[in-house]
């Protein structure tokens, strides 16, 4: 089901939490709502689900305004950050709950519960009590229970943040597989940029109750609309420079760009530079080498200024701290933002 938010504003206890949020999620799409803790992600999910009433704006489901639908009729199901499994019920009873609530026959919900437990790889756990399960298992029960509600839109509130790394990877795969199987329109709330970039059709980057950019992972990363957005994905150094007649000039380099004249900041991410004997940028030395398993992170400093760049090279590393190096520029990956 297509979900559309139009100018949603929310105030809680007199404080503005969301400010005119608009967003459309296509039917069956998987998007991430990415933002730092406290920026209003959970509030937005609760607003979509009708738990919080917006002070302005509307929620549309398949183009129909849902403002007057009470939470239990919206079908916008949240997997809460704290899971909220019912402690007085078994695993099977938890999963059957939404089906019972919509009046499913006993044999139907028993069969579906078994199926769903299989889907989340918890066969045979029907009669377990919630307190007898591990964190990762509980996460999967919560997911199965949400699916049992036949969601129009599935809202996942930081579902992986409480898991350790291995489990997290498994859960991500499981969620993606189920989302594809059921073709459910899904919003994943996360503060993990890698997670957002790797899992989503689109990413909505949120800050202080606003959506700064909503785009595909490639676009939002490579053509961020502002330095704030670019910095959120990779905080990198920048150099001020000037564009005149289609040429950008700064202290260490100059290259052709397709921008109007003016003062710009060039953001030099690790992917925009590389160490190269014949590179045009000189006077940098290796100030730090950090081994990371799959590669090395190299920190480069300019002798005469405080400018500090970072790049990654694969093993083996032929440099030592203190070596002078030349740097090449991957012009297409340099982000330019107008300074005014």
């Amino acid at each position: 089901m297509e979900l559309s938010l139009k100018n949603i504003s929310v105030a809680l206890s007199g404080e503005e939490i969301l400010d005119s949020v608009s967003l459309t999620v296509d039917d069956g799409a998987f998007i991430s709502l990415l933002g730092a803790s406290g920026c209003g992600k959970s509030t937005l999910l609760k607003t979509i689900a009708g738990i919080i009433a917006p002070s302005k704006g509307s929620v549309f489901l398949n183009g129909v305004c849902a403002d007057h639908l009470p939470p239990h009729k919206r079908g916008t199901v949240i997997v809460f950050q704290d899971l909220r499994l019912f402690p007085h019920m078994t695993v099977a009873e938890n999963i059957a709950f939404p089906m019972k609530m919509r009046g499913a026959a006993r044999e139907e919900y028993v069969r579906t519960t078994t199926e769903l437990l299989e889907k989340v790889q918890l066969q045979g756990f029907e009669r377990r009590r919630v307190r007898e399960m591990s964190g990762g298992q509980l996460q999967r029960v919560a997911l199965a229970r949400a699916l049992a509600a036949n969601p129009n839109v599935l809202l996942l509130d930081e579902p992986f943040s409480s898991l350790d790394e291995n489990l997290r990877q498994d859960m991500r795969q499981l969620v993606q597989r189920l989302q594809k199987d059921y073709k459910i329109t899904t919003i994943l709330v996360t503060h993990d940029r890698q997670e957002a970039l790797s899992m989503s059709d689109k990413i909505a980057l949120m800050m202080d109750g606003r959506i700064l950019q909503y785009d595909t992972p490639e676009n939002i990363y490579d053509t961020s609309v502002s330095r704030t957005v670019a910095d959120f994905f990779e905080s990198a150094p920048y150099i001020e420079g000037v564009v005149r007649d289609g040429i950008f000039k700064c202290e260490i380099a100059e290259f052709v760009v397709d921008k109007p004249d003016g003062i710009y900041q060039a953001v030099l991410r690790s992917g925009a530079i590389y160490i190269d004997e014949k590179g045009p940028i000189r006077d940098f030395y290796v100030s730090e080498i950090q081994y990371r398993g799959e590669d090395y992170k190299i920190t480069l400093k300019e002798e005469s200024s405080n400018l500090q760049l970072e790049t990654y090279i694969s093993s083996p590393c032929q440099f030592n701290v203190g070596d002078m190096v030349c740097i090449g520029l991957n012009v297409s990956r340099v982000l330019l933002f107008s300074s005014n």
């Binding site: 689900a49 738990i51 009470p70 939470p71 239990h72 009729k73 079908g75 916008t76 199901v77 949240i78 809460f80 704290d82 909220r84 019912f86 402690p87 007085h88 709950f97 939404p98 609530m101 919509r102 919630v130 307190r131 229970r145 949400a146 509600a149």
Partner: protein
């Protein structure tokens, strides 16, 4: 040493209390040397359960305790649910429901007499509205074997008590698990009966036990509002205690013994319930 020193007042009070209880128990077994009674016997307990007057007293107290505590639990939960659902949790209304909890039982008894006796306010209002034509057209609510006056007085005090006792837990469950249930398709009412209420039951039961124990053993309301015959157990015990024949004190003490046993049983249940609540809260956090 210091912790024990700080505990000293408590220990002292505890000792005094236990001495009193022990003394009463010994007397209930017929051992009161001051009156020349030195044989230990269960005779007085047997009497409590075989003498018609005393049996009637036990019954009266049980009826009052059961009806007041069950009704207070039911209506208290409803009141609490109404407060929670309407978001009055931090409201003046919550302050208002504390008032009946604070007012002493004796005062409540006076209210009841003012409002509900056959020449009370309510009867007068009905009379002036022409709904009743004489004093005895108004039903006998006080001093009657239906115990309605006593039960109403307890309800007036204990319904707010239950609501207040359960409020914090219900608020927190409603805003987490109740919210989740609605999100999964349960209407507000079904979410309440399937999720919020069952999870609040340990607290409700605790409140119910407190009220039961209190209304079973309390003296003021049955004394001020109760029927002449049969009397509630604590009132009857008092009658036996001040009986001109001092040897009747053993009966009084046996009745106290019965009340003590029942109260102890309830304390035991309360303890078990508390442990259960703790376990469940632990789970929710875990």
């Amino acid at each position: 040493m210091r912790p024990y020193l700080l505990l000293a007042p408590l220990i002292l009070l505890g000792i005094l209390f236990l001495l009193g209880v022990g003394n009463a128990l010994i007397q209930s077994l017929g051992y009161i040397p001051a009156f020349g009674m030195t044989d230990l016997t269960l005779e007085y307990y047997k009497q409590v359960f075989s003498n018609p007057t005393l049996i009637a007293s036990v019954k009266v107290s049980l009826v009052i305790a059961v009806v007041s505590s069950v009704l207070a639990a039911i209506f208290g939960v409803l009141l609490c649910a109404a407060l929670v659902m309407n978001g009055y949790v931090r409201d003046r209304i919550v302050q208002a429901i504390k008032i009946p909890i604070l007012i002493p039982h004796t005062i409540v008894a006076l209210f009841m007499i003012m409002f509900l006796s056959q020449n009370g306010l309510l009867a007068r209002i009905l009379f002036h509205m022409g709904l009743i034509t004489a004093q005895d057209g108004f039903p006998m609510l006080l001093y009657d074997t239906n115990h309605i006056g006593i039960i109403l007085a307890y309800l007036w005090k204990e319904i707010p008590f239950v609501a207040y006792f359960v409020l914090a837990l219900m608020t927190s469950i409603n805003s987490t698990l109740g919210e989740a249930a609605e999100n999964l398709g349960a209407s507000g009412i079904r979410s309440f009966f399937h999720i919020t209420l069952p999870l609040c039951m340990p607290a409700v039961n605790k409140a119910l036990l407190i009220i039961f124990a209190f209304s079973f053993g309390a003296y003021e309301l049955p004394f001020l509002l109760g029927a002449t015959i049969p009397k509630a157990l604590p009132v009857q015990a008092y009658v036996e205690y001040i009986h001109p024949d001092l040897r009747h004190r053993a009966y009084a003490m046996a009745m106290n013994g019965v009340m003590l046993l029942i109260t102890l049983g309830i304390s035991g249940m309360y303890y078990l319930l508390s442990r259960k609540t703790e376990r469940m809260n632990g789970e929710q956090r875990g």
